[in-house]
Each structure stands twice: as structure tokens, then as C-alpha cells.
């Protein structure tokens, strides 16, 4: 598994790594609870069934959900690497995907972008809780991060994303990440975030200012079709914002990862149970 994913052709660069991991959940045959249907790790993307590590929105302390953690099998991604993760949350099932540690994105030994592409499909009546650790864009990295989530109209979802602009005291490399969520056939949320020397204006007051950490929580619930939680700027650097469709986004910038996590968690509390942790 590990060796086979080395030196694949995608980037054409010797030593570059391509990997594609697959994860799927389904409703158990007896109808009680969810189980992992597919768990295919690949090289650096190691998927492991797990127990709850800490508080979770929606699924806290529940035993009838499928829980999987993503662990890093190697350092990276490094420049030239191309990772992909495909997730399917089968009809009626609940999948919680967490992460063991932060993802440190590094430059490679040679020139070249690193890429990570994540696709998620959440089927009818299914629930997806995605609670990863931060992505750290280390100095001189050149990373493209692309997340596409397709929700059935009756699906529920909550995710957290956190980006750190470099390790402590370091200027970030080039990072571009896009998160696009569609529901039914319509776009619900589509945001790209770019920072690093390759782009202009990201350190201005319209985008990130002097923040060293930026993140958001996006929650989608079909119950919010007619009425969504009201907008609430709960801190000078953070706000809870109802989307045009049945979802909310909590956006925050902060001087460091701890402050960012604190702001996002505070935003989550504004939503009350079962979202708050």
C-alpha cells in the first residue's frame, strides 16, 4: 500500500507522492446505528476507526455512530505531492471524521505545488461531522486545498476548518484553499481563501489583516429551511452568520491557533444544543 503509492505518475516528479484514501459509512443492517462500510487508507492518509477523543457537536458521547480518525502516515504533504480523500456518508448513517494531529504543509525538496483534494457526499437523511485539526501553511510551502461537499436536501452536516499562517513566528508559504458546499443541485457555500506572497492584499484589513490564524465552522440543517439562527457578531474578530440557504457560517480570525479555537467554540455555543460543545 505504502510502496505502491510512491512514484506514481500524477505529478511526474520523482519522489513525489500521490495517495487516494476512501471512506464510506452506512446504516447497519439491523437499522440500529451506523457502521464503516469502506476504510481504505493510502500511504500518508491513514484512516482508523476510533473512539471519541473530546466533545463533538451533534454526536457527543453517542455510540451508534461511525467514528474514524485521519492520521498522517508521513510528513507532509510536501511540494509535488498530491493527496485525495473521498468520503461517502450513506443514507441515514452518521459519520464522524476527526484528525489525530494538525496537518503541516511543507515545501518539497524540489519546486512544485502540493495538492489535497477532498470530496464528500452526504446522502439522504445522513449526518456528517467533520472535526479536523488545523492546517499549518509552513514557510515556503505552495499548497492547493480543495474541498467539495455534496449534500442531499435532507442531510445534516457540521465542519470546522482552521488555517494557521506559518508555524510560530514564521511568515506563511503560499496557500489557496476552497470549500464549496452544494445542497440538492444548488450552491450553498463557496469560499476560497488565499494567503502568502503569491497573492496581493491578503494581509490588508479587507481580508486577514495581521491575523496569524483564520477559520470557520459551517453547519447545515434542513430544519433551518424556513428560519435560521440570527446573525451575531459575538467578538470584534468573529461573527455567526446565517447563509442564504439552510446553514450558518461562523467566521473568525485570531492572533494564534488557541485564540482561534476559542472563538470558533464560542460561536458554536451561540447555536445551543445539539451543536454546542
Amino acid at each position: 500500500m505504502y510502496a505502491s503509492s510512491l512514484r506514481k505518475a500524477a505529478s511526474g516528479r520523482p519522489g513525489a507522492m500521490t495517495a487516494r484514501a476512501v471512506l464510506a459509512s452506512e446504516l447497519a443492517a439491523n437499522g440500529r446505528g451506523s457502521r464503516v462500510r469502506t476504510l481504505r487508507s493510502d500511504g500518508p492518509l491513514v484512516l482508523r476507526p476510533c473512539h471519541p477523543k473530546g466533545p463533538e457537536p451533534l454526536t457527543d458521547r453517542r455510540h451508534d455512530v461511525a467514528r474514524v480518525a485521519l492520521a498522517a502516515g508521513t510528513a507532509g504533504p510536501l511540494g509535488g505531492d498530491s493527496y485525495a480523500l473521498d468520503v461517502q456518508v450513506g443514507a441515514g448513517s452518521t459519520l464522524v471524521l476527526t484528525e489525530i494531529s494538525a496537518m503541516l504543509v511543507l515545501p518539497g525538496p524540489r519546486e512544485g505545488q502540493s495538492r489535497m483534494s477532498i470530496t464528500v457526499r452526504v446522502d439522504d437523511g445522513a449526518t456528517f461531522v467533520w472535526w479536523p485539526q488545523p492546517i499549518i501553511a509552513a514557510r515556503r510551502c505552495d499548497h492547493r486545498h480543495d474541498v467539495r461537499i455534496t449534500l442531499a436536501e435532507s442531510a445534516r452536516m457540521i465542519l470546522r476548518e482552521e488555517m494557521l499562517l506559518g508555524r510560530h513566528g514564521e511568515a506563511p508559504g503560499d496557500f489557496s484553499g476552497r470549500l464549496r458546499i452544494t445542497r440538492g443541485r444548488a450552491a450553498l457555500y463557496d469560499q476560497q481563501l488565499r494567503f502568502g506572497q503569491a497573492w496581493d492584499g491578503w494581509n490588508g484589513a479587507a481580508v486577514l489583516g495581521d491575523a496569524a490564524a483564520v477559520g470557520s465552522i459551517v453547519a447545515v440543517d434542513p430544519c433551518w429551511t424556513d428560519m435560521r439562527p440570527p446573525a451575531l457578531p459575538f467578538h470584534k474578530d468573529a461573527a455567526l452568520m446565517p447563509l442564504a440557504g439552510p446553514g450558518v457560517a461562523i467566521g473568525a480570525v485570531a492572533p494564534d491557533s488557541l485564540a482561534l479555537r476559542h472563538l470558533l467554540t464560542r460561536g458554536l455555543h451561540q447555536l445551543g444544543p445539539p451543536w454546542a460543545i
Binding site: 476552497r178 464549496r180 458546499i181 452544494t182 444548488a186 450552491a187 450553498l188 457555500y189 463557496d190 469560499q191 476560497q192 481563501l193 488565499r194 497573492w199 496581493d200 492584499g201 491578503w202 494581509n203 490588508g204 484589513a205 479587507a206 481580508v207 486577514l208 489583516g209 491575523a211 483564520v214 470557520s216 446573525a231 451575531l232 457578531p233 470584534k236 474578530d237 468573529a238 461573527a239 452568520m241 446565517p242 447563509l243 442564504a244 440557504g245 457560517a249 467566521g251 473568525a252 480570525v253
Partner: protein, 228 residues
């Protein structure tokens, strides 16, 4: 790509002019809240603010104006609803969605008054400003690149003009920033016109987190000169 060299320049100047009675003067494009929060304090900060703004919200508005222009130019008005929904998805802040729709409604009212055309009736009750700008450009026979340039200039010059009212700056220094940004606006307009030919889902989506957060605070602020 269309040429700006043959005709249409006067119509482009008309659409991009801040004196068009379409309500733009009441908005600072997020500058007032950024100054109030202490995030913009000098001319250098203002320039970084304006560049960040055109590279994010500006590139989105430009692409959607160009896309609306291309579709209206082909008589494809039924595609405009999809553009509206895709633009909604790119604006997390409900306050900024409302501002965009308020400005769109006012621009349509102005266009209905000064240059009526059946296309304007095909827009919904409160269309987004870039979509109306794209349709207006098409109605004047302009192409996608001109539509993108019109909204880029209108939004950028509007925010810059607000600077003199919300911070202590020399107006010549402010316009020097605008002069330095002209090439950037041309590039963004060309990119927008290129994106307009592709699938709607692939239109730019560059986010501006601080603009969203500041807009939500601004709406609740007691003392403000500008609506946004």
C-alpha cells in the same frame, strides 16, 4: 475578447461613474467599519485594504458582472437565477448580501429611469448589484470585460472616495492609490471575462473574512456615516 477601442467607451464611463444615481455614494465598501475597528489607520493600510478588496470581493463581483453580461448578451436571461444563487453562496455575511441586493435594486431603478429595456424586468425583485451591472452593460451593447471593469471601478473608487470622510488622508494620496491600481483593475476585468465563459460553479469565490465580520458589526453600530 471584445475591444474597448471601438465604440461603447462613453457608455462604460456612464456605468462606472459614481455620480450615476444608483446609491453607491452611501457605501464605503467596508472601509468605514475597517477604520472604526482600527484596522486601517494610514495611507499604506488604505492601499492594502483596497487591493485586498478588489482581489477578493472585487474579483467575484467582476466575474459575476461579466457572466451576467455574457448571458444577457445572448438573451439567456433564465440563467441569471443560477448566478444569483451562486453569488449568494459566495457572500457568507447576510448584511453584505443585503447591501449587494439593495445596490442592485437601486441600479436597476436608475437604469429603468435613464435607459429602459425589457431585460431589467427579467431580474428578480432584488437582484445582486453585479448581475444588474452585467445586464446594464449588455443593454448598452458592451461586452463582459467592460461590465467587469465598470463594477470594479465603481466599487473601488467608491471605497476610496469614502476614505476622505472616515480618516485623515490627503485626497491626492488616495487618488495616487487608484492610479497605481489601474493595471490591476484591467487584469482583473480580463480574468473576469475569461471566467465568464466557463461553468458558473467555477466562477471566482475568493473570500474576505474580515470584511464579513466587520459588516456584521457595522450594521449594529450607532454612529456611522455610511450604510456599509
Amino acid at each position: 475578447m471584445e475591444s474597448l477601442g471601438s465604440g461603447g467607451q462613453a457608455a462604460l464611463l456612464l456605468l462606472a461613474d459614481g455620480r450615476l444615481p444608483a446609491g453607491g455614494y452611501a457605501h464605503s465598501g467596508g472601509l468605514e467599519p475597517a477604520v472604526a475597528a482600527g484596522r486601517v489607520a494610514d495611507v499604506a493600510g488604505l492601499e492594502r485594504f483596497l487591493i485586498g478588496r478588489v482581489e477578493t470581493a472585487g474579483s467575484i463581483a467582476a466575474a459575476f458582472a461579466a457572466a451576467a453580461c455574457a448571458r444577457a448578451g445572448r438573451g439567456n436571461l433564465s440563467d441569471l437565477a443560477e448566478l444569483e444563487a451562486e453569488l449568494d453562496a459566495r457572500i457568507p455575511s447576510p448584511e453584505l448580501r443585503k447591501v449587494s441586493r439593495d445596490l442592485g435594486r437601486q441600479l436597476r431603478r436608475a437604469m429603468n429611469g435613464i435607459h429602459p429595456h425589457p431585460h431589467f424586468a427579467a431580474l428578480g425583485a432584488a437582484p445582486h448589484q453585479p448581475v444588474v451591472m452585467g445586464v446594464a452593460a449588455a443593454v448598452f451593447g458592451l461586452g463582459p470585460r467592460a461590465a467587469a471593469l465598470a463594477i470594479l471601478h465603481e466599487n473601488n473608487a467608491g471605497a476610496a472616495a469614502a476614505a476622505a470622510k472616515v480618516m485623515r488622508v490627503d485626497p491626492f494620496e488616495v487618488h495616487a492609490i487608484l492610479a497605481r491600481m489601474t493595471d490591476r483593475l484591467d487584469c482583473l476585468a480580463a480574468e473576469a471575462a475569461k471566467a465568464a465563459d466557463g461553468p458558473t460553479a467555477d466562477l471566482p469565490a475568493s473570500g474576505s473574512p474580515l470584511t464579513d465580520i466587520a459588516a456584521e458589526h457595522h450594521r449594529r453600530s450607532d454612529v456611522r456615516l455610511f450604510a456599509s
